[in-house]
């Protein structure tokens, strides 16, 4: 189904039309096959990058697309509806450009961003560690100042693009314990001592493998410190506020795809002499799914519009991520139910959608962390 959209400019409408065209012709026909084989779609991502999709919400002055978040998120949604791994790749890449774009010096932005946003390079965001995911402030990866650089030692976990990234945002400890001892460094992938480990055997998104990345005395130049020493945790949390909106948009797109597929099936599948959508038990299930998708979309775009207006949006971003990803889990699960036995086999995409939805409840802060963020805002009043 074509989603009705209200976009702020004619250019944004043209951009969405272009994205749908590329996604329909290049992504949708390949998703199931790449996922089954676990092949990373590097060239397809390059195609998306060259279309200008790797820096949409950043300033044109530095090579970005100059688009509001409201538009960027709808682009992500349309891509996620064809192939979640591709949308997630853009979301992670965009997240990994955030520290330089928002906290880099003008010289860093001028020197680094045009390449980072240009579409040829892919970024990774290294925050979590094997022993510390949700409790990121307790990280142990250490950056020791040594002359004109930092020597980084430690292990980062769950890194999307671990094997394919051209640059890594690395959050590491330059000072004492706690969040205030953390800094953000930007490392090139070719840096000696940065060693991606074996890919994790994941439930889904196998086309975009994640892995630990070991930093074994990796030397990163001091001019790659983003923000001040000790500002890293604040930068990471700000980046995640924005990144959460990306994940919410991915969830809306994935759920829309599941809904569309389930509706198409239910209209065509006949039992007891009529299409199963005409049985209230199925029709009402689909009605609830459709309502949930619309609600999550509206909520996600509302948070984006707050961000675009320069208003505080952290709480609304957490709510959108929480609601949209829980919604996607439920809607994809129900889509399998609508297809019955057919939904449980890989001949139809809904079993993959259901597996893919799960990770969205975990990344960019688990949904328990989102509730914590929201509750803290409520407690502050």
């Amino acid at each position: 189904m074509t989603v009705e959209r209200i976009l702020p400019t004619p250019e944004a409408s043209d951009l969405l039309a272009l994205v749908c065209d590329i996604a329909d012709r290049e992504l949708a026909p390949r998703a199931a096959d790449f996922e089954a084989r676990g092949e990373f779609p590097r060239e397809l991502l390059r195609l998306l990058g060259r279309a200008g999709l790797f820096g949409l919400p950043y300033d044109e002055e530095y090579g970005g697309g100059g688009q509001p978040y409201e538009v960027y998120l709808q682009v992500l949604e349309e891509i996620a509806a064809r192939w979640l791994a591709a949308a997630e790749a853009i979301s992670v890449h965009t997240l990994s450009c955030y520290p330089v774009a928002a906290h880099g010096t003008d010289a860093q932005r001028k020197r680094l961003l045009p390449d980072m946003l240009g579409g040829e390079l892919l970024g990774a965001y290294c925050l979590s560690e094997p022993a510390g995911g949700s409790d990121a402030g307790a990280m142990t990866t250490r950056a020791q100042r040594d002359g004109d650089g930092y020597v980084v030692t430690g292990t980062k976990a769950w890194i999307t693009h671990a094997h394919h990234a051209d640059f890594f945002n690395v959050f590491c400890r330059t000072g004492g314990p706690g969040p205030r001892g953390i800094s953000c460094l930007l490392a090139d992938a070719g840096t000696p001592g940065i060693v991606p480990q074996a890919a994790e055997r994941t439930m889904a998104l196998r086309a975009s493998p994640i892995a630990q990345v070991a930093f074994d005395g990796a030397r990163i130049p001091a001019d790659r410190l983003i923000g001040e020493e000790g500002a890293g945790f604040r930068i990471a949390m700000q980046a995640l506020d924005a990144g959460r909106l990306g994940i919410a948009a991915c969830a809306v797109g994935l759920a829309q795809a599941a809904l569309d597929y389930a509706v198409g099936y239910a209209r065509g599948r006949e039992q007891f002499g009529q299409p199963i959508i005409d049985f209230q038990g199925v029709g009402f299930l689909l009605a609830d799914m459709a309502t949930a998708v619309s609600a999550a979309r509206a909520q996600t775009l509302w948070a984006a519009r707050l961000k675009d207006a320069g208003r505080p949006y952290s709480q609304e971003a957490a709510k959108a991520k929480l609601f949209a990803t829980d919604m996607a889990m439920r809607v994809t699960t129900d889509a399998v139910q609508v297809l019955g036995g057919a939904g449980y086999v890989a001949d139809h995409p809904v079993e993959r959608y259901m597996r893919e939805a799960k990770v969205l409840q975990i990344v960019e802060g688990t949904n328990q962390i989102q509730r914590m963020v929201i509750a803290r805002h409520l407690a502050k009043g």
């Binding site: 250019e11 043209d14 272009l18 060259r50 279309a51 200008g52 697309g65």
Partner: protein, 259 residues
């Protein structure tokens, strides 16, 4: 090299298309209108030549106001500017009348090379390049699957049912292309933004020195008298396999001369 690409807005060939009941022209109001697919290949070929040889690429269309959307689409791919022949009197023009207008517009642009899609998905007459060539007194190399430029000489592999023919001509000339010639690029966000600022010149019949009675219904050499809807698809043949399914399938294919 100064290249002009002919483009046309057509109703989406993937959707249901209709003729207007009052004058038998395409009903553009109900259709999803798109840039004619084959024209994208012509634009791509022009851009490739420009990358190799320099020069300028201009997009030319004739059509109502909304044909500007097709111009915008084409410009997003990369051409420098566009010319839109827009005049109410053009409505109902046949291929002959259209070729008169396009040839007049081309004279004002003085191109070394005119590129066009080999056919449009609405009219599908494939004659426009020939007619324009005749009017301008230049060569028409049509149905190209490959085009090479060597100085002022164009060489084309002309796709035929049996294979291909190699034909050459001197510039200026018009070349029409099939979708075998290249793989059109996708526009980019930068292309979308740049297209907003590209000049689009609008020309009227008066600007081209053509009288309104030479075009439109009055000036057309052919008239669509009536039309009927395509008959609905007939039910297919159902083969029930009771041991002889294979034989029945082969017989069906043989009867329909598929084998």
């Amino acid at each position: 090299m100064n290249i002009v690409v002919l483009v046309k807005q057509v109703p989406d060939s993937g959707a249901e298309r209709e003729l207007r009941s009052d004058d038998q022209t395409i009903d553009r109001s109900s259709a999803n209108n798109v840039l004619n697919e084959m024209d994208e290949y012509a634009v791509e070929e022009a851009l490739k030549l420009q990358e190799a040889l320099g020069g300028e690429v201009t997009v030319l269309t004739m059509g109502p106001e909304q044909a500007g959307e097709a111009i915008r689409k084409a410009l997003q791919m990369g051409p420098d500017k566009a010319v839109h022949v827009l005049d109410g009197a053009l409505h109902g023009s046949c291929a002959v009348a259209t070729s008169k207008v396009l040839a007049a517009a081309l004279r004002t642009l003085n191109p070394d090379l005119v590129l066009a899609g080999a056919e449009s998905t609405d009219g599908r007459v494939q004659v426009m390049p020939h007619m324009i060539a005749e009017r301008l007194g230049i060569a028409a190399l049509t149905g190209a699957r490959k085009l090479t430029v060597d100085g002022g000489t164009l060489t084309v592999e002309r796709q035929t049912e049996e294979g291909y023919e190699v034909v050459t001509a001197a510039t200026p000339a018009i070349v029409s292309v099939w979708d075998t010639i290249n793989e059109p690029r996708y526009p980019s966000l930068k292309g979308i933004m740049a297209a907003k600022k590209k000049p689009v010149q609008t020309l009227s019949l008066a600007d081209l020195g053509i009288s309104p009675d030479e075009v439109g219904f009055a000036g057309s050499t052919s008239t669509v008298v009536e039309s009927t809807k395509r008959p609905p698809r007939q039910a297919g043949t159902k083969v029930t396999d009771s041991g002889d399914g294979g034989v029945q399938l082969v017989e069906f294919l043989a009867t329909e001369r598929f084998v």
